[in-house]
């Protein structure tokens, strides 16, 4: 399509190109400004932060805030908790979702219709927050590491994405295998699953991002700061006029403030996402389409 009508571009079309280019570049810059400004603050000195003179470049460049963040603040243990819970969510969710989605994709399996309704109903009617909280408490998840894993392992939306993938799996292959005497377990684990890597990657990434960024459930369930996942820790650090940051800022020789430390924490916690993003970008695009074209 691009080749076919760029052969002869009129003057009007060239202006059009330029306007669009300028607009989009401006838009992208606006999107990037908050992150760049935050980066600048995190590398700026105490005086610059207190006088509020930091724009898009660091003023009085210093690594003091980053040094503090990387060394003292307990960020690492929170990262450990987030990494562990995310990894567990991905593994457990993929296992139980694939095993649930596959039978639901089979027309010959009579209960499938009803079970799909059971799944879809959780999308339509959401249990209120308080009974949800009380139920999780009842399972003994209060102040428990597993509170960040168990509630995250099943989502109707992702399940339906998987089901629609299994539905499009060529029936001939399965029929042929069945004639050769292949049982249902072997069919699923040795024939269907190995050729479902794309959907597994996509759905796994959705669960992974969800688990990594989860906030509300840990906020309700985790009071013990030693169990704080990264998101709660960041909230605590950014809003902290209390705790370790407040104590650290009182050290008068230190070259940081609440603001520079908070900025460093925010940028710091974005790093994992930015590092992984380029590798997984294509799967996310695939997943967004899988999900939206047919729910």
């Amino acid at each position: 399509m691009r080749g076919s009508h760029s052969i002869r571009e009129s003057a009007g079309d060239r202006t059009f190109n330029l306007i669009i280019l300028i607009f989009l570049v401006l838009f992208a810059c606006l999107m990037a400004v908050p992150m760049i400004a935050e980066l600048a603050v995190s590398f700026s000195s105490k005086i610059a932060s207190q006088t509020g003179t930091i724009g898009l470049v660091p003023v009085g460049f210093t690594l003091a805030s980053w040094d503090f963040m990387v060394r003292n603040s307990g960020l690492w243990s929170s990262i450990g908790i987030s990494v562990a819970s995310t990894a567990l969510v991905v593994v457990i969710s993929l296992a139980i979702n694939a095993m649930l989605a596959y039978p639901l994709s089979k027309k010959r399996f009579a209960p499938a219709r009803f079970l799909v309704l059971v799944v879809v109903f959780t999308m339509i009617f959401k249990a209120p927050t308080i009974p949800y909280f009380l139920a999780l408490r009842g399972y003994g998840l209060y102040n428990n590491f597993w509170a960040m894993v168990i509630p995250q392992v099943i989502s109707a939306y992702n399940l339906l994405v998987m089901r629609s993938f299994f539905q499009s799996f060529p029936a001939e292959i399965e029929e042929a295998a069945e004639i050769d005497g292949c049982g249902k377990f072997r069919m699923f684990f040795q024939i269907v699953l190995p050729s479902s890597k794309a959907v597994i990657a996509t759905v796994g990434l959705f669960y992974g991002v969800g688990a990594w960024n989860q906030y509300a459930t840990p906020l309700m369930m985790i009071q013990d700061t030693a169990l704080f996942p990264l998101q709660l820790k960041i909230h605590q650090l950014v809003n902290a006029a209390s705790g370790d940051i407040a104590a650290a800022v009182k050290v008068s020789t230190a070259n940081y403030t609440n603001d520079t430390l908070g900025a460093a924490a925010v940028i710091f916690s974005m790093i994992p996402v930015l590092l992984i993003y380029p590798f997984v970008q294509k799967y996310f695009a695939k997943g967004a389409m899988l999900g939206s074209v047919k729910g």
Partner: protein, 308 residues
């Protein structure tokens, strides 16, 4: 007699053939029941005077008293109104942005620049609201970039995050910032499916690039937009606890408080379990009606529209 036997043998045959499926379903179904259905059943405490000590089996039933209390409570109407206004603003101002953005991205003739812009605008989708909230507070804070710019122009300092009048714009802009790039993925996919022949014949007829964009591309992605619009209308009340919770301050509660944040404060923090469940149940039931209604509409508009 033979009928019963036949039915029983059919059931036996069904289980002989499908028992592996039942085994596979079991873990997922168990989690679904534990995490989704048990809390649904627990909504019963909206009709009780629930206390943690007595538990769900011992707490006395009070009928509709919690709902009567809720309807007599000013806070409830404030929260309801805020939810409606923020939801409306979202549909009106945030929803169209990805459409516009994908139309423009599609017309961009420099593949490298296009890729770069797409990456920059999509990344925020993967950043949590805690971090977006932190960024917002810093950008709009006393020493933030907004006040830097204002100082340059000789304007006085403002603190938007502490002012009610600013909350709605902040809500809209952060929504756009975080999700508009991600939203383009669907539309760009729809655009890539348009028949190139349409553009070719338009070119022959002497259509300009702008005309092709507004007369071909836009109408062709409209069905996708309508479907998404209706699906979003169905989840109108789900404004996102994380976003509001990480953007509001006690100074902006009057316009920022939505059902989810209100329930969190009154229920989890103040322990008004039954009352907060009544509020939550009210939201869930209206939500249910909205989803069913708009799913029905979306199915009417397009064949494979709708969630189910």
């Amino acid at each position: 007699m033979t009928d019963v036997r036949r039915r029983r043998s059919r059931l036996a045959r069904h289980f002989r053939e499908f028992w592996p499926y039942y085994v596979m379903i079991l873990p997922g179904l168990t989690f679904l029941i534990l995490i989704r259905y048990v809390p649904m059943a627990g909504s019963i405490i909206a009709f009780q005077n629930f206390s943690l000590r007595k538990g769900i089996w011992q707490s006395p039933f009070v009928g509709l008293e919690n709902f009567r209390k809720l309807l007599a409570y000013d806070d409830f109407y404030r929260v309801f109104r805020n939810t409606l206004i923020l939801g409306g603003l979202k549909m009106l101002l945030v929803f169209p942005v990805p459409i516009l953005l994908s139309l423009l991205l599609n017309e961009l003739r420099y593949p490298r620049v296009k890729k770069g812009i797409q990456t920059v605008v999509t990344i925020p989708h993967f950043i949590s609201w805690v971090i977006v909230g932190g960024l917002t507070f810093d950008v709009l804070g006393a020493g933030g970039i907004l006040n830097q710019a204002r100082a340059l122009m000789g304007m006085e300092m403002i603190l938007p995050m502490q002012k009610s009048a600013w909350f709605r714009p902040v809500y809209v802009f952060t929504s756009i910032w975080k999700e508009s790039g991600w939203g383009t993925v669907v539309y760009l996919a729809a655009i890539s499916g348009i028949d190139p022949g349409l553009y070719e014949s338009a070119s022959i007829d002497g259509a300009s690039r702008f005309q092709k964009m507004t007369r071909i591309t836009l109408p062709m992605i409209l069905p996708t937009a309508v479907t998404l619009f209706l699906i979003n209308m169905g989840s109108f009340l789900d404004l996102g606890f994380d976003q509001v919770f990480n953007l509001y301050t006690p100074m902006t509660y009057d316009v920022a408080d939505i059902f989810d944040t209100y329930v969190y404060r009154s229920g989890i923090q103040q322990g008004k379990y039954s009352f907060s469940t009544a509020v939550g149940l009210f939201q869930s039931v209206i939500g249910l009606a909205l989803v069913v209604l708009f799913n029905h509409l979306s199915k009417k508009v397009s064949e494979d529209g709708g969630l189910w």
